[in-house]
């Protein structure tokens, strides 16, 4: 036990003396989360909309006003002589509304008045939002016109659970929390471990009385302490910048956090032990941690959309489980009954990484 603590203390001292690594450990997770959390949003509001009004009647102008007053769109002028398509190509508008001639006459006579909406589909998600927004505005406009006819037969009463304001930052905030914790703690652990290999100080470890297990536990303990520091900092950001609160019982979240940190630090140590080259080890951890956590964890885009051939990988990505726990803790508040399986999965993955790291250490020792 004493040897483990001594090992951990040595690791922490090394980190504190390395200014760049310390900055990497403390400033970067906070800075990145603060910067990227609010920026990661797919929901475009206030899209520029070009209008070609071929009808020019009071009714068509009222229809355009309905778009102008909405939060989804703002009207940009269509230069004289320019076609709506050219405005879309130039990127001055995301969509173009074409009101045909005789729009007002058709509406008054009860004929179908067809409005064309050209949407720039380069960005597919924004295109879908534009279509949805335009359809809602048009529906409400038609509703108001025929208000004398009474209310629609079927109405919907929509209740938005967990995030009633539909704030993107409440979704991406927890995502960034997971992302920064799945990059920085393992990178530091990998740096600390591969340095021993690169600078051959590992030989000193071999000749000392410390066992492979004690050495490993000491390293992981130091990584865990650093990770907990980062965890506290980023969590503080969640409470302040992202305005999140625990929705229910946070014990599952606390347990999962410790297990997750153990898991990623073990992963970093494993890579550091397997690759005795700091640059390469960091690259592997960063690429692996970032790519897998970013792409295959449901952090930003739904896992269900990943092709089946790649999707199975996501069940081996610890971030995929942690994100479930974090979102539950901050938004849904289901607690243990909802997320116990995810906590177990994180623990199991952590044990696998620890086992592999231990095995790699043993093998290294035999070789040396």
């Amino acid at each position: 036990m004493q040897r483990i603590i001594a090992q951990a203390r040595k690791e922490l001292t090394q980190i504190i003396r390395d200014r760049l690594a310390l900055a990497l450990a403390l400033i970067l997770p906070v800075g990145l989360t603060a910067l990227l959390g609010p920026s990661m949003s797919l929901t475009v509001t206030d899209m520029p909309l070009a209008v070609q009004d071929l009808d020019q009647t009071p009714l068509s102008r009222r229809y355009v006003d309905a778009f102008a007053t909405s939060l989804t769109f703002h009207i940009v002028p269509l230069p004289p002589g320019a076609s709506p398509e050219s405005v879309l190509i130039a990127g001055r508008a995301r969509a173009a509304l074409i009101i045909p001639e005789h729009f007002a006459r058709d509406v008054q006579r009860g004929r179908v008045a067809e409005i064309q909406l050209l949407v720039d589909a380069t960005d597919t998600n924004t295109a879908l939002l534009a279509r949805g927004g335009a359809a809602q505005i048009t529906g409400a406009f038609a509703q108001r016109l025929s208000a004398t006819n009474g209310t629609p037969a079927i109405r919907t009463a929509t209740r938005l659970w967990f995030n009633p304001g539909r704030e993107p930052r409440k979704f991406y905030g927890p995502g960034m929390f997971v992302l920064s914790l799945s990059i920085f703690p393992p990178v530091l652990a990998a740096l600390a471990m591969s340095r021993e290999g690169e600078q051959k100080t590992i030989l000193q470890v071999y000749v000392s009385s410390i066992s492979a297990r004690e050495f490993l536990v000491g390293k992981i303990l130091a990584g865990l302490i650093l990770g907990l520091g980062q965890w506290c900092l980023v969590l503080g950001l969640m409470f302040t910048q992202f305005d999140l609160r625990f929705a229910g019982d946070p014990t599952a979240f606390l347990a999962a956090s410790v297990l997750f940190l153990f898991c990623v630090v073990s992963f970093g140590t494993l890579v550091g032990a397997a690759v005795p080259n700091q640059a390469a080890a960091v690259q592997i951890v960063a690429l692996g941690g970032f790519l897998l956590a970013f792409l295959l964890s449901g952090l930003t885009f739904p896992i269900e959309n990943v092709p089946a051939a790649l999707r199975w990988i996501s069940s081996l990505v610890q971030a995929r489980y942690f994100i479930v726990v974090v979102r539950d803790a901050f938004l849904q508040g289901g607690g243990w009954p909802a997320v116990w399986w995810a906590v177990l999965a994180i623990g199991a993955l952590g044990l696998v990484y620890y086992g592999l790291a231990w095995w790699t250490m043993r093998r290294m020792q035999v070789k040396a």
Partner: protein, 398 residues
């Protein structure tokens, strides 16, 4: 005479760099493998399309009308019916634990109210944790309900008019007057998705990743080759050659430029062959922008190498530089969706300009007349970055 001297020395130095890069197998690998892998992974895996949301239903009415409504909602691929619940509480439990994304509750008096022509309210419960999904799901449910409403109104209003048409087909004006009195205003929106009618999300992602890839990999490779000279202490040897500082810097940059352009062409080929990204505009324009991007990447890499003392430090510094550059470039999420105070910074981001050019030219078929502001901005940024990095590198030599 001097030009041939210059050429000879320059070519010799450039050849030396080229050989050094070629012999470094890890560097060569990192030029080919990560870009291809990343563009494939991102293109396949990053799909933001909202589809197959898990829908749960409580149908208290259990009538043909209520089933018609539910089938109207599940008709499109936004929703997938995964469960019917006897009670609302069962639905709410599953929604709370994340087993469902959307819940629809049809009241028991649904069919009776409909038959009497009285309005009836259907409850829609949405898990709004993901704001984007919630917005699109809400739009889809309301669209489906509006469709059912319209259909039933049409059925009600056209039934008598069809009769009139059959009896007195030639009194057109009377028919119109009849319509005007009874039918609601019918405004139909006909959306047309230009440039990407199939809504292939990969076109958006691949064109974005492409720009990020060139600059990030460019800077990594450039930093690695530049720092090597410093680490091995061979800078003095370079100084002893008759080559001028400018020649040394140029000879360092040109081979990298050629190799990275090769990487860019490789990435373009993957985009074309695997993802069928349309190449609607001028490919020369895209390659010009690529060249600017490659130079920017080299500039950033060189700058990092002058700031760092070792390869490790260079890599750690790039940790501070790369993520914000990429994430705030609009490559993955639209810049317009970012907070207002961040948006102006995108003008200083070379990736953002490149992504705008690549999307406009490749997908929309835009020409120079449209993209010139971006190209100009990109070229300016390139010139500034390369200038600063070359100056710093030269100072290091001196």
């Amino acid at each position: 005479m001097t030009s041939s001297w210059w050429g000879g020395r320059f070519v010799a130095l450039a050849l030396k760099e080229l050989r050094q890069i070629r012999r470094d197998r890890r560097l060569m690998m990192s030029l080919i493998v990560p870009p291809t892998l990343q563009i494939l992974l991102f293109g396949f895996a990053l799909d933001s399309e909202v589809r197959n949301l898990r829908l749960g239903v409580v149908d208290e009415s259990r009538t043909a009308e209520s089933r018609e409504l539910i089938s109207a909602i599940t008709q499109n691929r936004t929703f997938r019916l995964v469960g019917s619940y006897g009670t609302t509480s069962g639905l709410e439990t599953d929604l709370a634990s994340g087993r469902l994304d959307v819940g629809v509750v049809v009241p028991y008096d649904f069919a009776r109210f409909r038959a009497r022509g009285r309005p009836v309210t259907v409850q829609v419960l949405l898990n709004a944790v993901n704001a984007n999904t919630a917005q699109i799901a809400q739009g889809a449910v309301e669209g489906a309900v509006a469709w059912v409403n319209r259909e039933s109104e049409l059925a009600r209003s056209t039934a008598p008019s069809a009769r009139i048409q059959r009896v007195v087909p030639d009194t057109e004006d009377a028919l119109r007057a009849y319509h005007a009195r009874t039918t609601p205003a019918r405004i139909e929106l006909r959306p047309a998705f230009l440039f990407n009618p199939g809504l292939v999300n990969a076109w958006f992602i691949v064109t974005g990743v492409f720009g990020a890839l060139i600059i990030l990999n460019g800077s990594l490779v450039a930093a690695a080759t530049m720092i090597k000279e410093k680490e091995r202490g061979t800078v003095e040897q370079l100084l002893m050659t008759p080559a001028s500082a400018f020649e040394i810097v140029a000879a360092k940059m040109v081979p990298l430029f050629v190799l990275l352009m090769g990487m860019a062409v490789l990435a373009l080929t993957v985009a074309r062959v695997v993802f069928h990204v349309p190449f609607r505009g001028s490919i020369v324009l895209v390659l010009t922008a690529c060249a600017c991007c490659v130079l920017t990447g080299i500039g950033i890499g060189t700058l990092i190498s002058t700031l760092a003392g070792s390869a490790n430090q260079a890599q750690l510094i790039s940790f501070f530089v790369n993520p914000p550059f990429t994430a705030l470039s609009g490559a993955f999420t639209p810049i317009e969706a970012m907070p207002k105070w961040i948006q102006p910074w995108a003008h200083l981001n070379p990736i953002a300009h490149f992504v705008a050019i690549a999307r406009s030219v490749l997908v929309k078929g835009a020409g120079l007349d449209v993209v010139y502001p971006h190209l100009l901005a990109l070229a300016t940024l390139t010139a500034v970055l390369v200038g600063i990095s070359a100056w710093r590198f030269r100072r290091q030599l001196g």
